[in-house]
Assembly symmetry: C2
């Protein structure tokens, strides 16, 4: 096991325990929506986004418990987006990480409500005083996450993605796909990293460095995801592969070809590492994450 794999596993364990506590079961008929929220959140996953929050926070001397709660709030947002994405009206997926998707396990109405409840819970956690004693910091964390998750970010990116079906294929070029991914998946990665700097009340230059790192790393992540869809093995990847091509969907790989896509991902990973030049060895796991993005098999 590499240092990164060990650190990721150790962090995921803490994240899972904290998510379990933040999403405590309740009695009564409303217990079912909590159960679905737990199902949508606690079925595993690499917990990459909370790991990034913890690592970035570590650069700025932030106590781990604070970063952990921010990471859990972010993971709730990520999880709600997957629950809604899997719905029949969206991607219509039956499986997620080898298990029935939330609406298959429960039902569509419960899955819609579970996603809605997870989003609300994320902001409730962020506004609470376990996250930071300075309420201005908590407000900044709430506002930044709301922007990253909402129409100016993830939700906007999902809309751009849906609209691609109605676009002249000739207009779906690299700049278009890049912007789509920066909104749809990139903005939450940026949030993960900048949240560490916000928690540390770090100067603007640090916030910009974290965002620049996350932008390059997130795009490398996405290109690697497209490569896995073409080249990956379904059992290893843990979800269906070949879906983009089957759907006739334009991706970095369909537009650039496999070789060029791989070169671009490598280039972006090194560029991400370069954004961390001002930081010492405490940024080594962030450097490793960027490089891992382009070598991962799942």
């Amino acid at each position: 096991m590499t240092d990164l794999a060990a650190a990721l596993a150790a962090s995921a364990e803490k994240v899972n325990a904290r998510l379990d506590a933040l999403l405590a079961p309740v009695d009564g008929d409303e217990g079912r929506v909590i159960e679905a929220m737990r199902y949508g959140t606690l079925q595993g996953g690499k917990r990459l986004r909370p790991f990034l929050v913890l690592q970035a926070a570590g650069l700025f001397g932030v106590p781990e418990a604070r970063a952990l709660d921010v990471g859990c709030a972010l993971e709730m947002i990520h999880s709600y987006s997957l629950v809604h994405d899997d719905l029949p009206a969206m991607d219509d997926d039956d499986l997620r990480r080898g298990q029935p998707t939330c609406h298959r396990k429960f039902d569509e109405a419960t899955a819609i409500l579970a996603g809605d409840g997870l989003q609300a819970r994320a902001f409730e956690v962020l506004a609470g005083d376990t996250v930071h004693p300075n309420p201005l910091v908590r407000c900044q964390l709430v506002a930044a996450l709301a922007e990253a998750a909402g129409a100016p970010g993830m939700v906007g990116g999902q809309m751009v993605d849906l609209m691609a079906e109605h676009r002249d294929p000739a207009t779906i070029d690299i700049p278009h796909i890049t912007r789509l991914q920066q909104l749809k998946t990139g903005r939450l990665f940026e949030y993960a990293c900048v949240a560490g700097a916000i928690l540390g009340e770090a100067p603007e230059a640090d916030r910009q460095a974290m965002i620049a790192y996350a932008r390059d790393m997130g795009l490398a992540f996405q290109i690697a995801d497209d490569l896995l869809d073409v080249e990956g093995d379904e059992a290893t990847v843990g979800k269906g592969v070949g879906k983009d091509a089957a759907a006739g969907k334009a991706t970095f790989v369909s537009l650039l070809g496999i070789e060029e896509a791989r070169r671009e991902a490598d280039r972006l990973a090194e560029q991400a590492v370069g954004q961390l030049a001002a930081y010492d060895a405490r940024a080594d796991l962030l450097r490793a994450v960027a490089r891992y993005m382009v070598t991962r098999q799942s």
Copy 2:
């Protein structure tokens, strides 16, 4: 026009103008989700919840612009819940206020995203410094709204409502329906009123008085809603009537009968007025709201 009707209309005009500004259209493919968010929010409605925020805030000397932004954030939450409620997997409604519902005007995927985007935007607005110069007040407003809108509140109530289909009808009694409504619709009314006290940094006793008023008033509102579904005229009410009975749904009216339900609504309205005993004439419009609840025709 009564004083209340005039005040409601004047307030709705300000709310609509501010919502229009807070949900500014954007270019690009993601513009479609903003368009759907605007459609789900700006198609009219009484703007009762923002009115309550403004009136409650007025008791505690809060500048109107601050209360207006909190009222708009709350209205975005209310609007997102209607957009998601109308979806085929939920209530499957084609019309809302005489217009096609969001998923009929756009499509299901866009309506899901529009609801998600509205929820995020509400918290973004609340965390911003137009709402209050003291960030602790903003954090309190975010945390309280997240709780009222999420699984411990509205979302939980929607779940309890969905579960009623699977319940032994004999267990759906007045305490069950009361709790269901306190979660599903009551918690946002409570938030509307307590937000005024939070904005005014008022003592705990005032916060409790606002919640007690809202609890009685909200329940009166709900019983009146059930009565309108039985007795109302579709054109006046502005939505389908007789739906509860057609669906075999237990309501205050089906359990208590029309006469008893009306008496209970009247009793609650007067009880709500009683909760305002400590306040002077500045609370007269809140008193009028409670009484209007049980006389309204739409």
